[in-house]
């Protein structure tokens, strides 16, 4: 180390140009990777949805609307409506649980907070396959849930609690809950404690303060969390397949059946494109509603 400040670097090369060279070097590989593995498959999916379905799981490129026309039957529309209801229900309940949970966790002492975070992160190591299996064990006729309900006198005769809509709904909430608590954690930990404190000194009850003062401040993250849950669960496959009755089956199961069992890839692709379009529509609608409904100071 010298006392003399370093000489400015020889400025023969234009710094903007070196930046560009460095940027190209940095981004060339990621750009190639994303083009081949993201844009091409997306385009292929779109093309496939307009293709012609041949016998034996084959297809030929075409520009026909046969597959989309097949979607306009009441059965598919019912399945689509059910999938969205299930996803929105999951979103509302999981955010309603995750928001106060994340808030309380973010107010704990460091040790307790770190313990909760490690606990939540560790539960992500349980595959959805095994979560579904555990729900089967817990909800079976001789399982812990039935025993508890019998002991409380809420159930008169022991019978299995699945397959049922309730089992599917509870399991989906379980699957997303740790993710949503972790997703909301940064936003709620940023919250200022002075505002709720001021509200309660003015006589508001803690629950009331939480709902009317704290919640509106983090409305944005809460909405994003809800939409994220809808995105993750609207195409759910395993949970309704194992824990639901056939009338609880979702678009996810329909797409998978078309692709893997019937071998009708174009139909599966059209269903997938329809699913994403409906999702984008829902996203736009929420944005529009939350945009026009807000009163910005």
């Amino acid at each position: 180390m010298t006392d003399i400040p370093a000489e400015p670097k020889v400025a023969e090369v234009d710094p903007a140009r070196t930046d560009n060279v460095v940027l190209t070097g940095l981004l060339a590989l990621p750009a190639l990777f994303l083009t081949v593995l993201s844009l091409v498959p997306l385009f292929l999916l779109l093309q496939l949805s307009f293709a012609h379905h041949d016998e034996g799981g084959l297809w030929t490129p075409s520009l026909e609307l046969t597959q989309y026309a097949k979607l306009l039957n009441p059965l598919f529309l019912k399945v689509a409506a059910f999938s969205f209801t299930l996803a929105i229900g999951t979103a509302v309940v999981s955010v309603a649980i995750a928001f106060p949970a994340a808030y309380f966790i973010s107010r704990m002492r460091r040790r307790a907070q770190v313990t909760w975070l490690v606990f939540l992160l560790s539960t992500l190591s349980l595959s959805e396959v095994l979560i579904v299996f555990s729900f089967q064990v817990l909800l079976s006729g001789s399982g812990a849930m039935v025993k508890a309900l019998m002991a409380l006198g809420l159930m008169s005769s022991a019978h299995s609690l699945y397959p049922s809509f309730g089992a599917v709904q509870a399991c989906l909430i379980y699957v997303v809950l740790p993710y949503i608590i972790l997703f909301l954690y940064p936003a709620v930990s940023q919250l200022d404690d002075d505002i709720p404190a001021a509200a309660s000194t003015m006589g508001a009850s803690p629950v009331w303060t939480f709902l009317t003062v704290t919640a509106p401040i983090v409305r944005g993250p809460l909405l994003s969390a809800g939409l994220l849950v809808v995105i993750w669960t609207v195409g759910t496959y395993l949970t309704p397949l194992v824990l639901g009755r056939p009338q609880n089956w979702t678009i996810g199961i329909q797409i998978s059946n078309a692709a893997m069992t019937t071998g009708d890839l174009p139909l599966a692709a059209a269903q997938a494109v329809a699913l994403v379009s409906l999702m984008v529509g829902l996203l736009g609608l929420t944005r529009w509603l939350s945009g026009s409904g807000s009163v910005e100071p």
């Binding site: 180390m1 400040p5 460095v22 940027l23 940095l26 981004l27 990621p30 750009a31 994303l34 593995l37 993201s38 844009l39 498959p41 292929l44 999916l45 496939l48 309380f104 966790i105 973010s106 002492r109 460091r110 907070q113 770190v114 975070l117 490690v118 606990f119 992160l121 560790s122 539960t123 992500l124 190591s125 349980l126 595959s127 959805e128 095994l130 979560i131 299996f133 555990s134 089967q136 064990v137 817990l138 001789s142 809950l177 972790l182 954690y185 940064p186 930990s189 940023q190 803690p206 995105i231 609207v234 195409g235 395993l238 678009i251 996810g252 998978s256 890839l265 997938a272 699913l275 994403v276």
Partner: protein, 269 residues
């Protein structure tokens, strides 16, 4: 806070903890249960399913396949995300921002859609049922996770520190080594572990891309569940839970976990 609200808060968090741990307790219980039947709580403690798991060539092959796929997919995803996040932070590059957006896009599509997309893609490419298909598909679909985590990491670096290093005569690469690298190391580790865990437990995409020839652990567990269940299938899961717990405890020990998870406000001990 009043006594009532303190107890309300504790009761609520207790219920959430119970709900979240219930399936974990079931899986751990079944894996140590001497009986084959799905009974809970376990009647006799036994390690026989662990012995069965570790001596069965098929379960061991699935374990190895799963660990290989996750290790490769998480390394690849982080390697691709790192230059993108760095270019966004260091150069505010529009191209890098576009790549970050595109890279996060697939993560925001339902799993069934990406699964179908890649099953069709590998079919057209004519490269069907290979392990590398799962690795590449997982890496690109989960790319949104490391991009988000590493961006949080870069934003947490104090630019004044870099300027200070440069004023003291450090070159760009020296400043990078002294300031950026140590600040980013825990975020990189965190992103690696996170993608690893997500890839390890992913079922649908692995199944639709190569499920008929590549048996990852979740695929084998699901097959075992459908064809008369064996407690052996819970052993792998217990290993993963222990592994996940160890990895995240390690992260909490070497790094500031609340900050890694996105908390900005300092937290006193």
């Amino acid at each position: 806070m009043s006594l009532v609200s303190t107890w309300l808060r504790r009761g609520f968090l207790g219920l959430v903890a119970l709900f979240i741990s219930a399936p974990l307790i079931v899986v751990i219980g079944v894996s140590f249960n001497a009986s084959r039947r799905m009974s809970f709580p376990p009647t006799h403690l036994s390690f026989k399913w662990y012995k069965a798991f570790f001596t069965d060539a098929e379960w061991m092959a699935s374990l190895q396949t799963s660990l290989t796929i996750s290790a490769l997919a998480s390394s690849l995803a982080v390697l691709i995300a790192l230059p993108i996040a760095y270019a966004v932070w260091r150069y505010q590059s529009k191209a890098a921002q576009a790549l970050a957006g595109a890279g996060s896009g697939l993560f925001l599509l339902p799993g069934i859609v990406t699964a179908l997309m890649f099953s069709a893609f590998w079919g057209v490419v004519g490269h069907v049922g290979r392990v590398e298909n799962v690795v590449l598909s997982h890496a690109v679909i989960l790319l949104g996770v490391p991009i988000a985590m590493l961006s949080v990491g870069f934003q947490s670096i104090d630019r004044a520190l870099i300027e200070a290093a440069q004023t003291m005569g450090a070159s760009d690469s020296e400043a990078f080594r002294m300031v950026v690298r140590p600040a980013m190391a825990p975020y990189i580790l965190c992103a690696l572990v996170y993608v690893f865990v997500l890839s390890l437990n992913e079922y649908l995409i692995a199944y639709m891309v190569a499920g008929f020839s590549v048996q990852t652990l979740p695929i084998r567990i699901f097959a075992s569940m459908r064809s008369g269940y064996q407690p052996t299938m819970c052993v792998g899961a217990v290993l993963f839970i222990v592994l996940g717990f160890a990895a995240f405890s390690f992260l909490a020990w070497v790094g500031d976990l609340p900050k890694l998870m996105g908390r900005h406000r300092p937290l006193e001990t």
